[in-house]
Amino acid sequence: MQFAKFLFSRLLTYVLVVWISITIVFFVPRFVPGSPVEAVLGRLMSQGTTMDPKLVQSMRETLTQMFGLEGTLWEQYSSFLNRVLLTWDFGPSLANYPTPVSVLIARALPWSLGLMLTALAISWTLGNLIGLLAGYHNKSMTSKAIETAAMVMYPIPYYILALLLVILFAYIWPIFPFVFQVSGVPGSWPWIQSVAYNSFLPLMSIVIVSMGWWIISMKAMAIDTKEEDFVQYARYRGVEDNKVMVGYVARTAILPQITVLALSIGGVFGGSLITEILFGYPGVGTLIYRAILGSDYNLILGTVSLSIIAVATATLVLDIVYPFIDPRIRYK
């Protein structure tokens, strides 16, 4: 009964958070100066193409109608809610008309997920492993060296690191490509190799920086935990040192890291904006960036809603499953 009440209140919060966030995302781009219709016309006129005023006016009217921008904001909002709630259809991308938003997201999402989940898995696993070792053996010189390295890595903006990697490994020692250029038949071994090869620098730019944070945070928690009474007691009982580290310290210190991991998994649906732009990586981050630049209302809504729902869902799932991971937590 208590679980049912808890679940109901969490689901209600979840629905409210998603609805309010999507509503904000619907209205905000429309209040920003910049119209998708003028973006299309401006693109044509900036090329110097001869555009007789009658043609401009006629195109403006047709585009406004095609893009569904006729009527008041409330009319557009109610039509949008109907469409999205009933059919989960975000309509066509205005900058890529008539391609549906869903097609663009379906194409970009696997790339972002592939990059971000791999980066998260590597940085989380290695970062926690190294952090645990460094924290458990915090008096050693190696531990201090690791901490220093992590402190240096963590504050580097990842786009600076990305640029540095490009200059080092695509120009000075040119073993990686400048830009994402995958070749081969999708799914084939040469294609997989090509994806791995092309993704390596973007991946490293995220892994190196984010690993710094996992190392620092895990080290701090490991240091605290190893001084806890139950750990000391285990040592006095003669439990082997590595077993203490893994079975007692790691199991306890990892819990906050799992929380952050779950929230980070929700965040991967938004892609990694600057890394994707710098490397020409075809993920959701690039889509969001271009959608904002082009006032592509539908694409902004589609991509940002995806991120909102992913983060909200990750939080919901975490709330529900956490008591299974940490016995100290109970449903209330």
């Binding site: 401006g42 006629s58 890529n96 400048f178």
Partner: protein
């Protein structure tokens, strides 16, 4: 496991990841100091021989939907070889002379009556789509009918307003009737700048499709190249020379073809584009900054710009830059204010601050490209010198070119400049308005402006005068920089001038709705003697209130005199001798009213890499302008040859 073993295991995992990912196709440095396809067996990353593949920078960036080749959908990206090599137009533009010539058409259109409402178009015989079907009048008629029948394509409204009737009289002849007199029919259906809205489509493919959402993938081409493949991630598109290239307009007109493959490739940010060209991985760059040009010339001996030395850039881009106002809003609705701002502009410093002086100046509302400058700027110098403001002040200054040459002499680069006055004027322009802050102050004071104790200008109502100049933030570098240089000049004059750096959509929305004070825009475009099609939008009949998007006259300049000349120009044909004379009157009237402040032609740094290909158009080999992104690139490509 001991601690050391843990560290070893972690190190091994990292090492394995590194070695696994850094496996295939790693290129090495070539003899010119860069990486090149030569190091990967002479092949490009799209598996074509590098020395047979011309690689262009894809300025439009990566595409979200690379499979869309429907030129009648708003979301299509034309500039990745599709517009330049695959599609074709009835009449193309010769960018040296500024004259149109028949491309798909066999000759220029023939007016069938004296009021220019009926035209006959003869098509070339022997032109084929790349799938082997002949291009005929059926394709032209089908395309026009599609315009008329499909209200969900953007061109529909214009077509219904313009076209009365059309029919094919035989396989190669089309007759088009218009709803009203159209003396410039060839300009409406042929290329003037960049391209034209009329792209014939293959009837045999389109007739069974819905033109509003048909993707036309793979595209079928009329140009001498055919589609080969495109990156599903939208970074590149490859085109291959047709075996039957002689059965195209380029084949018939130029009788040459061009490289076997042409690849449009998006490399990324400007730094990456420059590094790629130094590495010989790009043959043609579209548009870069002067600083990047300097890096290229220092780091590569196989890269050259339009001019082999200073000033490097091509000055003949057909749109000129300057500062435009919303002339319907106070205080910019007064000619005295606009003129005062022009005279308070230190144009030489603005030139140096914008593009290090590598700019050609223009006092008129059309760009100073060679073909236009010879028809308008130079012949109008005497009238410009004689022109006076109502207070009798003569504002024109002919010394700009010589003054700039002196500045460059002092900077030590004068040795690369021409030596005669005439050549310097060809390079830097005929002159501009005097930098005369006293006259500017006099004009402002005449309409009630005052200065405070700090020398700052106050509006007639006593409020401090501030100007915000809209400028492009992440595109059109020259206009972006120009705004800052002008703001600096006006600040020195005592105006609180600032710059609003804006993204493209905000920049253009402000322009259309008039919700701005001043902007670094480029409303003056032209490439030949017939400037009316590009300036007709200045007519006052297109003015709408601020806040509403304007169809034309975005700068909301009201003038009976300009409207009267435009009405007369509308009636004359392109080749009518009256056309040029009326156009001169128009330009002088625009200058007198200072409807906007034209400043410079556009300088384009469009470098080429001569490692694999040669015979690019350059200042020394001027068979075309370096406009790689225009539809007439197919004629340029025909001249570019692999290096022996």
């Amino acid at each position: 496991m001991k601690t050391k073993q843990w560290y070893l295991a972690v190190t091994l995992i990292v090492a394995m990841l590194l070695s696994a990912c850094a496996a295939p196709q790693a290129p090495a440095a070539d003899s010119s100091g860069g990486t090149s396809a030569a190091a990967t067996g002479g092949m490009t990353f799209v598996d074509t021989p590098r020395n047979e593949t011309l690689i262009l920078d894809n300025l439009g960036g990566s595409l979200e939907r690379p499979e869309n080749f429907n030129m009648y959908t708003p979301g299509v990206e034309m500039g990745r070889g599709f517009h330049e090599l695959c599609t074709d137009h009835l009449w193309e533009i010769d960018t040296v002379t500024g004259e149109q010539f028949p491309s798909l058409a066999a000759e220029m259109p023939k007016a069938l009556n004296n009021d220019y409402t009926s035209f006959e178009i003869k098509l070339r015989e022997g032109i084929f789509w790349d799938d082997g079907v002949e291009f005929t009048s059926d394709d032209v008629i089908y395309t026009l009918q599609m315009w008329m029948d499909t209200d969900a394509i953007a061109i529909h409204g214009w077509a219904v307003d313009y076209l009365k009737d059309f029919k094919a009289t035989d396989k190669y002849t089309v007759v088009i009737d218009t709803t009203r007199s159209q003396p410039r029919f060839a300009k409406d259906f042929g290329v003037t700048i960049w391209g034209n809205r009329f792209y014939p489509v293959p009837k045999h493919i389109w007739e069974n499709e819905d033109p509003t959402n048909f993707e036309f993938y793979p595209p079928v081409c009329l140009g001498q190249y055919k589609f080969s493949k495109t990156d599903p991630n939208g970074n590149w598109t490859l085109w291959q020379l047709r075996d039957d290239w002689q059965k195209t307009s380029v084949g018939q007109v130029a009788e040459k073809a061009g490289p076997k493959y042409v690849l449009w490739n998006f490399v990324g940010t400007e730094e990456k584009r420059i590094l790629a060209m130094i590495n010989n991985d790009i043959d043609i760059l579209q548009d870069i900054t002067p600083e990047s040009m300097q890096v290229l010339t220092q780091r590569s001996d196989v890269v050259r710009a339009w001019h082999a030395g200073f000033p490097y850039a091509d000055f003949d881009d057909p749109c000129e830059r300057g500062i435009a106002f919303n002339n319907s809003e106070s205080p910019y609705d007064q000619w005295q204010v606009r003129w005062a701002l022009a005279l308070a502009t230190d144009i030489k410093n603005v030139s140096l601050g914008t593009f290090a002086g590598m700019l050609r100046v223009s006092p008129l509302g059309v760009p100073p490209v060679a073909a236009v400058q010879n028809v308008y700027h130079k012949p109008l110098v005497d009238r410009l010198k004689a022109m006076t403001l109502p207070d009798g002040y003569a504002p024109f200054d002919t010394n700009y070119a010589l003054d700039m040459a002196k500045i460059f002499q002092e900077q030590g680069v004068g040795g690369e400049l021409p030596t005669t006055d005439a050549e310097l004027i060809d390079l830097f322009g005929v002159g501009w308005w005097k930098y005369d802050v006293d006259e500017a102050a006099k004009l402002l004071e005449s309409v009630g402006f005052t200065r405070n104790a700090d020398g700052k200008w106050l509006l007639p109502d006593g409020q401090p005068w501030s100007i915000a100049i809209n400028a492009p933030s992440d595109f059109e570098v020259q206009s972006g920089r120009l705004a800052f240089a002008v703001a600096d000049s006006w600040s020195k004059f005592g105006i609180d001038a600032t710059v609003n750096s804006m993204t493209a959509n905000s920049f253009w929305t402000a322009s259309a709705t008039g919700q701005y004070e001043a902007g670094s825009y480029w409303p003056g475009c032209a490439i030949g003697a017939d400037i009316y099609p590009n300036l007709s939008f200045w007519h006052q009949k297109f003015i709408v209130p601020t806040g509403e998007p304007a169809p034309g006259n975005q700068h909301r300049h009201k003038s009976d005199e300009i409207a009267k000349i435009l009405d007369e120009l509308e009636k004359v044909t392109s080749d009518d001798p009256q056309n040029v004379e009326l156009s001169k009157d128009l330009l002088m009237q625009m200058a007198l009213e200072m409807d906007w402040i034209p400043m410079f032609g556009t300088s384009k740094f469009v470098p080429v890499n001569e490692t694999y290909f040669t015979n690019y158009p350059t200042a020394d080999n001027y068979y075309e302008g370096p406009w790689w992104w225009w539809s007439n690139f197919k004629y340029i490509a025909a001249q570019i040859q692999p290096k022996q």
